[in-house]
């Protein structure tokens, strides 16, 4: 049964799906690929039980998950495949153009629940208007990353906002409400540019930066740009169809990533990934910590040192 099983992040899903589609076509249907959407955490859970060959992840593997994998002796390759720019959006009619992480924190931290309900509570200069929040569902890597980046602690968020795993629901919500603010992956913003306005985020250097391919590559869109990965089970890679699929992924990754509105890594990153496979460089370069604001450059250098 020639089947490659992929599961995990919804953020990575579009890239992997694109690869899977083209791969199956290239193989003329000889290999089947399933791509599930379980969220990064859900994906790792299955991956570490040996149920899947490849896990999509919108954040690096965490300590707890590494331990899980170790328990069953599952070893893996960590392959970054693209960058995503988490985009904070408001209604096009909104007067808000830029926000600091501090301001975002004021809106989103758990202490804000039931209290911060007006824009002017976030900043006195903001309009006196109700604050309507839209965000990722609490089971997603996007949620984890955003909360980590904004409040400093993953999964730490207020609860009284409209949450959806279905990002289009969020697009709808923000586009219909002048006082709304939401966040999701860049692709959703890009496809709905007409209905939404991206908010520039003040980065670590104090500069307000809008998300774009350019600002992600040069590292100025931080801390909201994040690398996304696939993790490949070492044992599975011994199967030719899995190896073929991963190789296909690395070869076509740049093209397909930008096609689905992600920022591809420099070509040599994909080349590096293939070398890792060849040299059997297992494990993660992140050490199991949730990190935010890793730039492409940093990532590349870490990978090189591996």
């Amino acid at each position: 049964n020639v089947l490659v099983k992929v599961d995990g992040s919804s953020t990575v899903y579009p890239v992997t799906e694109a690869v899977a589609e083209d791969f199956q076509k290239a193989q003329k249907g000889a290999v089947k690929v399933t791509v599930g959407i379980s969220g990064t955490g859900g994906g790792f859970k299955k991956f570490c039980r040996g149920e899947t060959d490849i896990s999509n992840a919108s954040r690096p593997i965490l300590k707890k998950e590494m331990e899980e994998c170790a328990k069953l002796g599952i070893k893996y390759y960590e392959l970054p495949v693209a960058f995503d720019a988490l985009t904070v959006v408001v209604n096009p009619k909104s007067k808000i153009n830029q926000l600091t992480v501090e301001q975002l924190k004021k809106m989103w931290e758990p202490a804000a629940q039931g209290k911060v309900s007006n824009w002017n509570q976030v900043d006195a200069s903001f309009p006196d208007a109700p604050l309507k929040l839209f965000g990722a569902g609490s089971d997603s890597g996007t949620f984890d990353y955003f909360t980590e980046a904004v409040t400093g602690k993953a999964k730490s968020s207020r609860g009284d906002y409209t949450a959806s795993e279905d990002d289009n629901v969020l697009v709808q919500g923000v586009s219909r409400d002048v006082n709304a603010l939401g966040y999701f992956g860049y692709a959703y913003y890009y496809e709905n540019k007409a209905k939404l306005k991206a908010v520039a985020i003040v980065n670590s250097k104090g500069k307000a930066v809008l998300p774009s391919e350019q600002t992600v590559i040069d590292g100025s869109y931080n801390p909201m740009a994040r690398p996304i990965f696939i993790y490949v089970n070492e044992k599975s890679l011994e199967r030719p169809e899995v190896r073929q699929f991963v190789e296909f992924y690395m070869k076509n990754g740049p093209k397909l990533a930008s096609e689905v509105k992600y920022v591809p890594l420099p070509a040599k990153a994909y080349q590096g990934n293939l070398e890792h496979l060849a040299k059997k460089k297992l494990g993660t370069v992140f050490g199991g910590d949730a990190e935010v604001g890793v730039t492409i450059e940093e990532l590349m250098s870490r990978e090189a040192k591996m």
């Binding site: 969220g39 859970k45 959806s164 629901v169 709808q172």
Partner: protein, 309 residues
């Protein structure tokens, strides 16, 4: 004539011919087994919900579950109060019923007592078709058509609201209520109607004073079924009500229902065994208990107001 002692024979459905008897009994056992599957299903549901809920309540104090006004089980500082979900469920159901019960009853009375046989023959199947539309379709209808229309009337309405979801849910439930109510009204014997008309009643008087009272148990059961449906309806609220556990009964607010929470979590596919995974079963158990309550109420009503004709 040889005399046979007087015997008393109690009727017995089955043959006494041994071979035939064995075969008949075997068949009966198989059929009984099939009937038992429904019981096993219930047991399965109860077992799954209760066992996972027990795991859940090992971590979560029962009192928190019942009294806390926040529901954020997947957050870093989780809160496990079912009340917001419960209020969301009740509010959306109320909105739906406010639409569905009057509409359904009026339609049923119209079809059963006013419309000509021809109109009824055409309209009834049409209504049933309406009841067959997948609720996911209704969900998008609520989000893309009804909400904007409501916002045009009431500009302050948010993009997701219990009002919009409830209204569409009401429309989705109308066919169930009208169809069952109409069945109940049709089942009222013509002789009662003739009695009423014979006294000089109009159709309206016949419908309201004689037919509906006579069909009361059927009509109430139809309502109960409608309530059960509303409480358990998932996709419409999941898509259109806003997925936001909200401790409010204001229909113009977004909110989350119990069922919508389960879908939301299931969409992310929580890892088996985590507290989040268990939380959907605890929520499911609450939902099940609610519908059970209505089902029991339905039984009681049927017992109590059994048709008197």
């Amino acid at each position: 004539m040889n005399s046979i002692p007087a015997t008393t024979v109690v009727s017995d459905r089955l043959a006494r011919n041994v071979q035939r008897n064995i075969r008949e009994r075997a068949i009966e056992s198989i059929l009984f087994g099939a009937a038992l599957v429904s019981v096993l299903t219930t047991l399965g549901i109860v077992w799954v919900l209760v066992s996972e809920s027990l795991n859940f309540f090992e971590h979560v104090p029962f009192s928190d579950f019942l009294t806390d006004t926040m529901w954020t089980p997947l957050f870093s500082e989780p809160r496990y109060g079912i009340l917001p979900l419960l209020m969301g469920t009740i509010t959306t159901s109320l909105v739906a019923l406010v639409v569905a019960i009057p509409l359904g009853t009026v339609i049923a009375a119209y079809l059963s007592e006013f419309a000509s046989a021809r109109v009824r023959e055409i309209v009834k199947p049409f209504l049933e078709l309406l009841g067959g539309i997948p609720t996911i379709v209704y969900g998008y209808f609520a989000l893309t058509v009804v909400t904007p229309v409501l916002q045009a009337i009431y500009p302050d309405l948010p993009g997701f609201s219990m009002l919009s979801a409830g209204l569409v849910m009401g429309i989705a439930i109308v066919p169930y209520i009208s169809s069952l109510t109409e069945d109940a009204m049709r089942a009222v014997p013509m002789s009662l109607r003739e009695g009423a008309y014979g006294m000089g009643s109009t159709r309206f008087q016949t419908a309201i004073r004689v037919v509906i009272p006579a069909a009361l148990s059927g009509v109430l059961s139809a309502y109960i079924l409608g309530i059960s449906r509303a409480v358990g309806e998932t996709m419409i609220v999941a898509v259109a009500a806003g997925m936001q556990p909200n401790f409010t009964m204001d229909p113009t607010e977004p909110a989350q229902t119990i069922s919508a929470y389960i879908v939301q979590v299931a969409l992310g596919d929580l890892p088996h065994g985590s507290i989040g995974y268990q939380s959907i079963f605890a929520a499911g158990l609450s939902l099940m208990l609610m519908t059970l309550l209505f089902n029991i109420l339905g039984h009681v009503i049927r017992r109590r107001y059994r048709e008197a004709y």
